[in-house]
């Protein structure tokens, strides 16, 4: 079973994303910000990361850049899940190696389709 790391400072959003992913057959682990997210990656076994942008301590974009600098995690696909739609931020994420951008409130079926495309069922 593919394991997805969901990073968001909102526990409600984590719960909702997690529920949608679990119903689609994925295992889910959670982190409350970028620092926790990187720590979870160290434990290994993560197939994909779904990450908020605005978070305390370390933003999603900073976490993305850190992750991509680490050769062990560089190939893990990252999708940003955020209320942000600013072209500059989207461009920055794309440049840093993000695989996608989902605007909140998310639609579960579209998100699951995107996850399926990136890591398979």
């Amino acid at each position: 079973m593919k394991k997805i790391l969901v990073v968001d400072d909102s526990s409600t959003v984590r719960q909702q994303v997690g529920m949608a992913l679990q119903q689609a057959g994925y295992a889910v682990v959670e982190a409350g910000d970028g620092v926790e997210g990187l720590a979870m990656l160290e434990k290994g076994g993560i197939s994909m990361v779904i990450c908020d942008v605005n978070m305390p301590r370390m933003s999603g974009l900073d976490m993305l850049e850190n992750l991509k600098r680490d050769a062990r995690h560089a190939n893990i696909p990252v999708v940003m899940l955020t209320t942000e739609g600013h072209p500059g931020l989207v461009e920055r994420a794309k440049k840093a190696g993000a695989k996608g951008w989902i605007v909140k409130p998310f639609k579960a079926e579209l998100m699951i389709a995107a996850v399926g495309k990136l890591v398979g069922a």
Partner: protein, 327 residues
């Protein structure tokens, strides 16, 4: 405060206060203070909205999750029951019915064959009893002839006198033997008669039993065929019902997800308030800058700290919610 509101509702290019007429340093400080008050209320409001929304969404998510879990459990149970009925696995109802049908058919056939064999043997035994009776009649006839022969021998012996004493003894023995044969044969005849009376009855019952078993075998076969047809029909109906149930559950899951997605919109309220606060903060900083206030005064401006559900930065419009872009 009207100026503040006017500034807040304009596009925030960071220079609007410089162009405002009649704003001296004191007025700007006063305005900064008003903005600060406004921001504090705003922060309080954002926190309340966040807290309420978070609680409500969590509660809703909790209930929807319970619905989803129950629905999933129902589907799993239905599929398990269906799988038992469909004949997957050795303990399935389908397999058990097939085994029982096979067992009943085999035993019905076996008993029918045994009944046929019993019928045949009973008839053979009746025929044998009749043959014995015929043989007994023959022996009776032979014994009668032997007795007659002994009587004649005795008559001839008496005519010869003393010289035929040995022949007389032989004739007497012959008479005795023929009498014993006749007596034994009489008992054999009696037994053959009894057998001749009983065996046809046994043969008739064996025949009746055979017909009954053949009827039972045929009826059981028809009933088992009907049972199997019924089970097949039941399987089809349960499969259809299960599919319909699964589809309904999927609808429930989709509706639950949709409900949760709609609940997420509540988060946007707090985010919009936060954006508004970001603009107010910029206005406050701008007012203090315009008033040429000391840096320490700027530092005293309370910073907004939120625990928004999704988080948003000031000035970033929330558009195309739910949109997914893959690079």
């Amino acid at each position: 405060m009207n100026i503040v509101w006017a500034w807040l509702t304009k596009s925030n290019n960071g220079h609007a206060l410089d162009d405002a007429p009649g704003l001296d340093s004191a007025k700007l400080r006063k305005m900064s203070s008003a903005i600060s008050d406004f921001r504090e209320k705003l922060v309080k409001r954002v926190r309340t909205v966040n807290e309420t929304t978070s609680n409500e969404v969590k509660e809703a998510a909790h209930f929807l999750n319970a619905v989803v879990i129950s629905a999933r459990a129902y589907v799993a149970d239905s599929q398990k029951a269906l799988s038992r009925l469909q004949g997957e696995g050795n303990d399935s109802i389908g397999q058990l019915l097939s085994k029982q049908s096979e067992f009943l058919r085999k035993h019905a056939t076996d008993m029918s064959e045994r009944a046929a064999a019993q019928d045949e043997r009973a008839r053979n035994a009746a025929l044998a009893a009749k043959s014995i009776a015929d043989l007994a009649a023959s022996i009776e006839r032979l014994a009668g002839e032997a007795r007659l022969l002994a009587v004649n021998a005795r008559i001839e012996s008496s005519r010869l006198g003393a010289q035929s004493a040995g022949f007389e003894v032989l004739a007497s023995e012959m008479q005795r033997l023929s009498d014993e044969v006749a007596s034994t044969n009489e008992r054999v005849g009696e037994l053959a008669g009894r057998l001749g009376h009983d065996l046809p009855w046994i043969a008739q019952h064996a025949r009746d039993f055979r017909h009954a078993m053949e009827d039972f075998s045929a009826t059981a076969g028809v009933q088992l065929d009907e049972t199997e047809r019924g089970v097949t029909e039941l399987r089809m109906q349960v499969t259809r019902a299960s599919k319909a149930g699964s589809a309904a559950i999927e609808d429930i899951l989709r509706a639950s997800q949709a409900a949760l997605s709609h609940l997420q919109f509540q988060d946007v309220v707090a985010q919009e308030l936060r954006m508004l606060d970001g603009q107010a903060r910029d206005a406050q900083v701008q007012a203090l800058k315009s008033a040429e206030a000391e840096p320490a005064v700027v530092a005293e401006v309370p910073d907004a700290e939120y625990t928004t559900m999704g988080g948003a930065e000031a000035g970033s419009p929330v558009t195309a919610s739910g949109e997914v872009m893959l690079f």
